[in-house]
């Protein structure tokens, strides 16, 4: 039965399934009503299903449902409880949105949330409704929702291509695939058109508009096919998952995982979507990587962000993503593919602009490097809508600094021009003494210097200006642009070329040097914060160091929000030593708490409350989140640069680890202190116990030896000796009680829990109490089949002895004391009852108080610690002890001990008879 038949499921895969199932068990279930277009009846179907469940007494509420004025649908809402929406004011308009917090607080069994693809108004917790739904699911609430095919992220561009209408509200495929059930709501295109005409989909002019644009028969048919196919894909996925679950003829994943590369060009998004579709068709994993060369690092932040946005898109579509820094694109792609065992490469086709015959497309390069890897090239047809979308997605940020920068840039060109003029002026007197070739050299030197100082653009300007100046002032005929000697044209060309090339090269070098220095700066600041944090031993130090480091490195205000014992965040105010105004940092504690609870960043530049000014990064340490770092950059662009974000994340990780270390330093110190004080207390108690008992032993012993002396003492003397002995013993009991009380109250009693029969300890207690109970009837009623119970025999004996002692103190001679036990539920209940005078009325609870006595100022000895100790002992056993009046007179004390599953006693081989 080894795995030779190849049918055995991979244990890792099974483990992954188990984990997934566990995660699912906690999560709510998501059912999506999926359709090809608006008006097919998704909401209707959803409401019908919900009504059925509600009639079966399930707790169903309507979170949000768009009826679009359709009467049939609205009628279905009757009788369902509807969550009142949240009213939001946005740009002077009052809008209503789904109230996520109210839904979470209400925590129904099932909630209906229409239109999964809806985008929330800015200022809501999540930008997208599917994220709201995800949070509902995480809270264990089942959700019904609806979705049209054109809103699916991976099909978005395809649908856009078919209908010429691009929708901006999309749902990532991962969210769709993670749904537990997908119900396809389908009607033929003609019927849908008929419904549209009948005004059942849109009302009035809206219907007219829709019929002309979106609701064309061809469109609807294509959309319907897409929806059917996508559902079929999903069903196939379900079947496969089922097969793996059940290990029937298991379908194994082969190593055909895909790798796609994201480039800087605009078509990358299309490539990503194509790869995602391909991967889902092949049912394989896929990876998306971005190889960042020094050239690409030089791109504008906006472009780089686009690349990262595409990488994020890939991640949303289910890819494993990575950024690789390497100058050799093709080589690093192949290395990555080999390392991850990826046998298919998906790349965008290079634009056809081959300057030189020896230039190869990246596809050819890859094919030459790895002939064994399949290569799939994706066309890059641009859709005109694309750029609009990108610009919509990335709002330009007002930036105080950028105008200054632009000014500085313009100044550089001015300086370049001034340099050219100056050189011309300086060179003019030389013209009579030197050859023109030397003059050319001076100009070229100028261009190089300008390139070094001001970069590429000014260098180009300087090159052109130099050519004109040289021509005008030095080439005969001088002071004219005319050229007498044709060979000067070659000089101009070479001059221009040399100027441009050197400018380009030096500018490149300058840029690389700048990149290198930035990198070093980052490494330096990382090193600094790591060094500083490693020395911190108090939370205050960590707070101060991180505040200062972030201030220094990011020119940002920062605050550490640390949780209290209950996991609620509280802000730390920077100490007076920090000397830094923190007024401008407006921390919203709610958002920070969300980031802390979810372990995800929130606020500025994230998916959650992106409109916030402040970025909240959870401080995730190896064992748990240690707090939240709130950062507000003065120059917000800085936080958008990927390297800076990464650096900030690394800072957060370092701070988290430092906080955790400090926490454990504290824990260790506490433990040491506790151990030390426990040791001290124990030795104190042991010494007390010894020092108090030794004189008592002497007293008891000497008093008793008096009674044994020969010749015999007189009766009176014997009585005195007996009295001394009795009092000494009573003193000894008192000392024991006091010491035990001290021990139990310190909470340091270690119970010696053993499985044992109650009978044994009852016997021992009666034996100990025999002297006290003389001339009182003792009745013991223990059922023979009592189970073993886990308890500390010494302590339970003490409880019984104390209860019996109580009886002896408060009942007259000749009374009867009954000791009985029975099993009640999960507890063993033991009572000690007497037929004496009973408890003072209303004092049933008070008798357990320390130094409480049945009656005040009686001659009955005892301090009243006995019952207090009983209660402490029983409670440490997770039991309860109560006092009550016994029906028929007297008092009854009852305590319970939890039952468990006792171990099986050793099974004795069937007994041979050992009798005669």
């Amino acid at each position: 039965m080894l795995s030779t038949n190849g049918q055995r499921p991979d244990p890792d895969l099974l483990l992954a399934q188990v984990k997934q199932q566990e995660a699912k068990a906690r999560r709510g279930k998501l059912r999506i009503y999926f359709g090809s277009a608006a008006g097919v009846g998704k909401t209707y179907a959803m409401l019908v299903a919900a009504r059925k469940l509600a009639s079966e007494r399930h707790d169903v509420i309507v979170g949000v449902v768009e009826t679009h004025g359709r009467a049939e649908t609205a009628a279905l809402l009757d009788g369902l409880s509807v969550l009142s929406p949240k009213t939001v004011t946005y740009r002077d308009k009052t809008l209503t949105e789904f109230d996520l917090d109210a839904a979470l607080a209400r925590h129904p069994e099932l909630i209906l949330v229409d239109e999964l693809a809806h985008s929330n108004v800015a200022g809501m917790r999540h930008p997208k409704r599917w994220q709201d739904v995800d949070e509902l699911l995480q809270a264990g609430i089942d959700v019904f929702s609806t979705l049209n095919v054109q809103h699916l992220e991976s099909l978005n561009d395809v649908v856009g291509g078919i209908t010429n209408v691009r929708v901006w509200e999309t749902v990532p495929d991962t969210a769709f695939d993670a749904a537990d059930e997908v119900v396809l709501v389908d009607i033929p295109a003609d019927e849908l058109l008929a419904r549209l005409k009948a005004g059942k989909v849109y009302m009035g002019p809206q219907a007219e508009h829709a019929a002309q644009h979106f609701f064309r028969r061809g469109n609807l048919m294509a959309l319907r096919e897409l929806a059917l196919r996508r559902t079929a894909d999903r069903v196939e996925g379900d079947v496969q998952a089922y097969r793996v679950d059940q290990s029937i003829e298991s379908v194994w994943k082969t190593a055909t995982a895909l790798l796609t590369c994201i480039g800087p060009d605009a078509g990358a998004e299309r490539v990503v979507r194509a790869a995602a579709r391909l991967a889902s068709q092949l049912n394989t994993d896929w990876h998306a990587i971005y190889v960042e060369t020094p050239d690409l690092q030089r791109l504008k932040p906006v472009k780089r962000e686009k690349i990262l946005a595409n990488l994020n898109l890939a991640q949303e579509l289910g890819a494993i993503t990575a950024v690789i820094a390497n100058a050799q694109i093709a080589e690093s792609i192949i290395t990555y593919a080999r390392k991850n065992n990826l046998s298919k490469l998906v790349i965008g086709r290079d634009p056809i602009r081959r300057l030189w015959p020896w230039q190869r497309s990246s596809g050819q390069k890859l094919a030459m490097l790895a002939p064994d890897i399949d290569l799939i090239e994706i066309g890059r047809a641009e859709t005109p809508t694309k750029d609009r979308r990108e610009s919509a997605k990335l709002p330009s940020l007002p930036d105080a600094e950028s105008s200054e920068r632009r000014k500085f840039k313009r100044l550089r060109y001015l300086w370049a021009a001034i340099a050219c003029v100056a050189v011309t002026v300086l060179a003019l007197p030389l013209a009579t003494h030197f050859e023109n070739s030397n003059i050319v050299a001076i100009f070229i030197l100028t261009v190089v210097l300008v390139a070094v100082q001001f970069g590429r653009g000014p260098a180009a300007l300087a090159a052109v200006l130099s050519v004109f100046a040289f021509d005008f002032f030095f080439v005969p005929p001088r002071f004219s642009f005319a050229v007498s000697d044709v060979q000067y044209l070659l000089t101009f060309c070479i001059m221009l070329a040399v100027g441009l090339i050197t400018g380009q090269l030096t500018a490149g070098l300058r840029f690389q040097a700048r990149v290198a220095s930035h990198r070093e700066e980052r490494a330096g600041s990382l090193y600094e914060i790591a060094r500083d944090l490693s020395g911190a031993v108090q939370v205050e130090q960590v707070v101060k160091i991180s505040d200062e480091s972030i201030q220094r490195t990011f020119r940002a205000s920062a605050a550490l929000l640390l949780p209290d014992a209950g996991g609620r965040l509280i802000g730390t105010t920077p100490g007076p030593g920090a000397g830094r105004p923190n007024k401008d940092l407006a921390v919203e504690i709610g958002t920070a708490q969300w980031a802390f609870d979810k372990g995800q960043p929130a606020g500025f530049g994230t998916d959650t409350l992106p409109g916030s000014e402040v970025l909240y990064i959870p401080l995730r340490a190896p064992t748990q989140a240690r707090g939240v770092l709130a950062v507000q950059a003065h120059n917000r662009r800085l936080l958008r640069i990927p390297e800076q974000r990464q650096l900030l994340d690394t800072f957060a990780a370092l701070i988290a680890i430092a906080l955790e270390r400090v926490h454990y330093v504290g824990v260790a110190q506490d433990a040491l202190l506790k151990m030390e004080s426990e040791r001290l207390r124990n030795s104190l108690l042991a010494a007390l116990s010894h020092d108090l008992r030794t004189p008592l032993t002497v007293l008891v012993g000497l008093a008793e030896s008096l009674t044994l002396t020969t010749p015999k003492l007189s009766i009176a003397q014997l009585e005195t000796a007996g009295a001394i002995q009795d009092e000494a013993r009573r003193m000894s009991t008192l000392v024991s009680n006091l010491l035990d009380m001290a021990r139990i109250e310190s909470g340091e009693v270690k119970l010696n829990l053993q499985w044992q029969p109650l009978e044994e300890v009852v016997g021992a207690a009666l034996e100990s109490a025999r002297g006290m109970l003389q001339r009182r009837q003792v009745e013991v009623r223990l059922p023979r089949d009592l189970p073993l119970v886990k308890f500390d025999a010494v302590l339970i004996e003490r409880v019984l002895v104390n209860l019996l002692e109580n009886v002896s103190k408060y009942t007259p001679l000749g009374s009867t004391v009954t000791l009985s036990a029975e099993v009640i539920g999960d507890y063993l209940s033991v009572s000690v009852a007497d037929n004496g005078p009973g408890l003072p009325v209303g004092q049933e609870e008070a008798v357990f108080q320390k130094f409480a006595r049945g009656e005040r100022e009686t001659a009955t000895p005892g301090v009243g610690l006995g019952l207090t100790i009983c209660r402490a002992i029983i409670e440490s056993h997770q039991g309860k002890i109560v006092a009550a009046q016994r029906s028929g007179g007297g008092a009854r004390f009852t305590f319970t001990l939890p039952l468990g599953t006792p171990p099986l006693p050793a099974i004795e081989p069937e007994a041979q008879v050992a009798d005669g």
């Binding site: 499985w755 223990l782 023979r784 025999a793 008879v913």
Partner: protein, 239 residues
């Protein structure tokens, strides 16, 4: 022929306790040597050939349990330990290390003498037993229970009692150590074997069976007594 008095060594650092213990023992006819350190006690035990050692566990110059380990390397003399500590662990350790019995302070002279008598009786019986051998007289009785050790039969009030093999082994172990405290660990080792030395509930369950069969009132046993959290002791006569 006057027999020499039996010799007892008393190792105890509290002078007043030594005083009354000595008085009591001398009244019983013992020759008592006192010492207040473990070191001296060990020397005395080696040189005076004692018949009994009474040892306080809380001596300033060392641990009584170490003393017992040392002593048991070369002597079988009965040892009764005195303990002021309430922790049962100490008593169990002392018994496992070879002590025969224990008394918790404060104790009375009567209790002390009862233990001393039981211990020395066991010693003389064991000594005599080797001489006469287990003949027809190899019977044992407590209360109305009679055990014939050679026939392996048990009678209670004249009626034959059926015991399982483990119950019988348990009973014979108690009889062999009558009057002496046996710890749970010792009983487990003797009856179930060394592999079971942590399964304390075995002993408790079977001891319960024995009581059900042999005691008149199992909840108030008169002979098979529980030393709570320490072990068991078989007592022949009424206490």
């Amino acid at each position: 022929m006057a027999e020499p008095l039996p010799v007892a060594i008393l190792v105890e650092d509290e002078r007043q306790i030594r005083r009354f213990v000595r008085t009591a023992l001398e009244a019983e006819g013992w020759n008592v040597h006192e010492t207040d350190t473990l070191r001296q006690g060990l020397t005395d035990a080696a040189t005076r050939r004692p018949d009994l050692i009474i040892l306080d566990l809380g001596l300033p110059d060392g641990d009584g349990v170490d003393f017992l380990h040392d002593l048991r390397g070369w002597s079988k003399v009965p040892v009764i330990v005195l303990s002021a500590r309430v922790d049962e662990r100490d008593k169990i350790d002392a018994l496992d290390a070879g002590a025969d019995d224990y008394l918790t302070k404060p104790f009375g002279v009567g209790e002390l003498l009862a233990r001393v008598r039981a211990t020395s009786r066991r010693r003389t019986e064991a000594g005599a037993g080797t001489g006469t051998g287990a003949g027809a007289g190899a019977t044992f009785a407590f209360g109305d229970v009679k055990i014939d050790l050679s026939l392996r039969t048990v009678h209670k009030g004249g009626a034959a009692i059926h015991l399982t093999p483990i119950e019988y082994r348990l009973l014979s172990l108690l009889i062999a150590n009558a009057g002496k405290v046996l710890t749970h660990r010792q009983i487990l080792r003797e009856v179930w074997g060394p592999a079971h030395s942590e399964d304390g509930h075995y002993v408790r369950v079977y001891m319960g069976h024995l009581r059900q069969k042999l005691e008149n009132d199992p909840a108030q046993p008169r002979h098979i007594l529980t030393e709570t959290a320490v072990g068991y002791r078989l007592v022949q006569g009424e206490r």
